[in-house]
C-alpha cells in the first residue's frame, strides 16, 4: 500500500456551481486531480477557467450559498475532506494543506506585525508556546530571505516582493504536505518573480512539499513544474508531463495557447490568436466547450462533450477530432 500513502491529494469528479438569482455559473465541471508527494503540478488556463475555484474546493473554502460543491471523492493525505467537520477542516488548513491566495494584498493583516502573523499559525497548528512560536517565526523569515529583526514590522513597511515572501513564510511555517499557490507572482516584476520562484523551488525541494502552481503563464509552468493540467471552461482538456504537453501537444486549445504566445526565441513569427471568446459559463455549449473557436471542430463536437482519453504515458486530452482516423496536430513536429 506504499503507493496509497504516497498520495497527498485524490480528487475525483469535482463539480462546482454558483447558483445566482438569475443564472447559474458552471465554474468547475468534472475535474479529477491526483498528486503525489514532492510533485509540482501546473494548473493553467485563462481568466474564468475555474482554477481558483478548483483550488478553494480542496479546502472546502467555497462560499455556500451561492456555491454548490459536488465531488465523488476528495482525500488529502488519505483523509476524507468531504466528511470533515468545520473544526477538522480548520485543522488541516495550514497544517496539511496551505494556500497562497491570488490577491496577496488581502492575505496579510495590516494591524499585526509580520512576526505575529507567522507565529499565530504556528501556535495554532503546532502547539508551540508563544516564545517558541516567535523564535520559529523569525527562523521562517530568515529562510525566505528577510532579516529576523524585521519580524516586528508591519506589512505596509514591506515592498510587494517582501510581502509575498512573508506570505510564503506563513504558508510554509507548519510544513504542509501540499501547497496551493494561486498566481503567486502575477503582481510582481520579473526580476522579483525570479527570486520568489527560486525561493519556492528551494523550500519545496528541502521539505518534499507537493505544489499546485496556478498560473496563466506557460513559461512559469515550463520552469517550475513536473506535470501540467490545462483548463478550459471548468474542465481539464489536456494533461501530462511537460514533455508530453509542450512538445507533443494534442488539444486544439493548448495548441492555440502556444500559437498566441509571443516567444522570445522566435522573434519574427506571426502570432496566431485563437479567434472568438471564452464561452459564457452560465450558458456552456452542449458539446465541446471549445468547439465555437476550434479550427478542427466536426459536427460531433457540437453535440457531445469529449472525455479525457489516453495518448500513451501520462498524456491525456479531451478532443473528439481524434475519433477521425489519422487526425493529428503538427505543433510537436515543427517544434522538435
Amino acid at each position: 500500500m506504499a503507493e496509497q500513502k504516497d498520495m497527498v491529494l485524490e480528487m475525483e469528479n469535482l463539480n462546482v456551481k454558483f447558483v445566482l438569482e438569475e443564472e447559474t455559473v458552471e465554474a468547475v465541471n468534472g475535474i479529477s486531480l491526483h498528486m503525489r508527494t514532492g510533485e509540482t503540478l501546473g494548473l493553467v488556463g485563462e481568466t474564468g477557467a475555474g482554477k481558483t475555484t478548483t483550488a478553494l474546493s480542496i479546502l472546502k473554502l467555497i462560499d455556500s450559498p451561492p456555491g454548490v460543491l459536488e465531488c465523488d471523492r476528495m482525500e488529502v493525505c488519505g483523509q476524507d475532506v468531504l466528511k470533515m467537520t468545520t473544526s477538522e477542516l480548520e485543522h488541516i488548513r495550514g497544517s496539511l494543506v496551505s494556500m497562497i491566495f491570488q490577491d496577496p494584498m488581502t492575505s496579510l493583516n495590516p494591524v499585526f506585525t509580520v512576526g505575529q502573523q507567522i507565529a499565530e499559525s504556528l501556535e495554532r497548528h503546532e502547539n508551540l508556546n508563544k516564545n517558541d512560536a516567535w523564535k520559529k517565526a523569525e527562523d521562517m523569515l530568515e529562510l525566505v530571505g528577510i532579516p529576523r529583526e524585521r519580524a516586528i514590522e508591519y506589512p505596509h513597511q514591506f515592498s510587494g516582493g517582501m510581502k509575498q515572501r512573508v506570505i510564503i513564510a506563513i504558508a510554509l511555517a507548519c510544513s504542509p504536505r501540499l501547497l496551493i499557490a494561486d498566481e503567486p507572482t502575477t503582481a510582481l516584476d520579473v526580476t522579483i518573480q525570479a527570486q520568489i520562484l527560486h525561493l519556492m523551488k528551494e523550500l519545496k525541494e528541502k521539505r518534499n512539499t507537493s505544489v499546485i502552481m496556478i498560473t496563466h503563464d506557460l513559461g512559469i509552468v515550463a520552469e517550475t513544474c513536473d506535470r501540467v493540467a490545462v483548463m478550459y471552461a471548468g474542465r481539464i482538456i489536456e494533461t501530462g508531463n511537460l514533455d508530453e504537453v509542450f512538445n507533443h501537444t494534442k488539444h486544439p486549445y493548448t495548441e492555440g495557447l502556444f500559437n498566441s504566445l509571443p516567444n522570445i526565441k522566435k522573434r519574427k513569427h506571426k502570432l496566431q490568436p485563437i479567434h472568438g471568446l471564452m464561452p459564457d459559463p452560465t450558458n456552456l455549449p452542449k458539446g465541446c466547450a471549445f468547439a465555437p473557436r476550434c479550427n478542427y471542430a466536426t459536427e460531433a463536437c457540437k453535440e457531445r462533450r469529449p472525455e479525457l482519453m489516453g495518448f500513451g504515458g501520462t498524456h491525456q486530452a479531451a478532443c473528439l477530432a481524434y475519433e477521425q482516423a489519422g487526425f493529428h496536430i503538427e505543433r510537436g513536429k515543427t517544434n522538435g
Binding site: E46, V190, I192, G219, P262, I264, K265, R267, Q272
Partner: protein, 320 residues
C-alpha cells in the same frame, strides 16, 4: 538622413511629495524614426507611463524638450497643443476605466470626432464610426452596446478606434494588452501591427512584458528608476545586452519551452530603491553585482557603445 518624427531631449518630470522630490523621469533623451515602434520596458514604478504622458503633455514636464516633426511642443500654447494632439494619441492599459460607462460604442467612438469638429454632418460621422469599427474589427451589431457588456479585448478595440479617429501619426500605447488573456492579447497585438503597417504609424509601446516588445518593437529602451539605461534595436538588445540590469531582466523571463537549454539566470538581490531624492550614484548601484567606487561616486551618462546601441554604465566596456 534619418527621418526623425519624435525627439525627446533631457526630459524630466518630478513630483513633490511629503518625503521629498520624487524623480519619476530624470533626464531622459531619445529619438524615434517615422514608422518605427519604440518599446519602453522596465519594472513597476520606473517611470514608463510618466514618460509617455509627459511626451504628450498630459503631464507638464518639469524640464526638457519634446520635438514632434521638428516643432518644440513643450513651448506650444494650450490651444496649439490641443491641435497638435490630434496627431499624437494614447491608448491606455485598462480599457474599462478609460471608457464612459454611460456611452454606447458608437457614441464613444464618435466623441473625439465631434469634440474636435473633424466632421459635422451626422451621416458622415456615422459612416466614419462604421469605418473605424471595421478597421479595428468590431462587429457592427455592437454599435449600441455599452462597455460593461463587452469583454476586455473588445473594449481595447474601442480605445484603439477612438485613438484612430483623429488620424494620428503617432500613438503611445501604455500597456495595451497587459490586462488581457493571451489568446485575446494576440488578437490585439496583430491588429496594432496591421495598423502600423497600413497607416505608417509610429508607436511608443510601453510594457513590462519583454516577450511582447520583443515581438512588436523595432527598438527597445530599458528604464530603471526614472532613467534610460540602455537602448538598442530589438535584436541587438536581446542578443547583446550590455547593462547589468538589462542582462538580469532578460535572464528572468520564463521561457515557455521544454527541453531547451536555458540561459543562466542572473538573480538580482534586493528590490528597486526609492525614487525620492536619489543619491548621486548609479541608480542601479545598490543591486548591481559589479558596483565599484566610481559607481558610488557618480551617475553614469548614456553613451553610444556601438552604432545605435546606447548604454549608461560606468563599466560598459567590460561587458561588450
Amino acid at each position: 538622413m534619418a527621418d526623425t518624427i519624435l525627439e525627446v531631449r533631457n526630459l524630466k518630470k518630478y513630483f513633490k511629495t511629503a518625503r521629498g522630490t520624487l524623480h519619476a523621469v530624470d533626464d531622459v533623451s531619445f529619438t524615434i524614426e517615422r514608422g518605427k515602434t519604440l518599446g519602453i520596458v522596465g519594472e513597476s514604478g520606473c517611470g514608463k507611463s510618466t514618460t509617455g504622458r509627459a511626451i504628450l503633455r498630459l503631464l507638464e514636464p518639469t524640464d526638457g524638450k519634446v520635438f514632434f516633426n521638428g516643432i518644440d511642443i513643450t513651448s506650444l500654447s494650450n490651444f496649439k497643443m490641443r491641435q497638435m494632439r490630434r496627431e499624437m494619441q494614447i491608448i491606455f492599459q485598462d480599457p474599462f476605466s478609460s471608457l464612459d460607462p454611460r456611452k454606447t460604442v458608437s457614441q464613444t467612438i464618435a466623441e473625439p470626432i465631434i469634440e474636435n469638429r473633424l466632421l459635422k454632418d451626422k451621416k458622415a460621422i456615422e459612416a466614419r464610426v462604421h469605418e473605424l469599427m471595421d478597421t479595428v474589427g468590431l462587429a457592427q451589431r455592437l454599435v449600441n452596446s455599452y462597455p460593461h457588456e463587452l469583454d476586455g479585448g473588445r473594449r481595447q478595440r474601442i480605445g484603439i478606434a477612438r485613438a484612430l479617429a483623429m488620424e494620428p501619426k503617432f500613438i503611445v500605447c501604455d500597456e495595451p494588452v497587459s490586462a488581457l488573456d493571451v489568446s485575446i492579447q494576440a488578437q490585439i497585438l496583430n491588429l496594432l501591427q496591421e495598423l502600423k503597417e497600413k497607416m505608417g504609424l509610429t508607436f511608443i509601446f510601453i510594457t513590462h512584458d519583454l516577450s511582447v516588445v520583443n515581438h512588436f518593437a523595432d527598438e527597445i529602451a530599458v528604464m530603471y528608476l526614472g532613467q534610460l539605461i540602455e537602448k538598442a534595436p530589438t535584436e541587438e538588445l536581446f542578443d547583446h545586452p550590455v547593462h547589468p540590469y538589462t542582462r538580469a531582466l532578460l535572464s528572468a523571463i520564463p521561457i515557455p519551452e521544454v527541453g531547451i537549454e536555458r540561459p543562466e539566470r542572473i538573480l538580482l538581490k534586493g528590490e528597486i530603491s526609492s525614487p525620492i531624492d536619489p543619491p548621486e550614484e548609479c541608480r542601479f548601484a545598490k543591486r548591481c553585482i559589479y558596483t565599484c567606487e566610481t559607481c558610488r561616486k557618480s551617475c553614469p551618462k548614456l553613451l553610444e557603445a556601438s552604432p545605435g546601441h546606447f548604454v549608461s554604465c560606468h563599466l560598459w566596456k567590460d561587458f561588450m
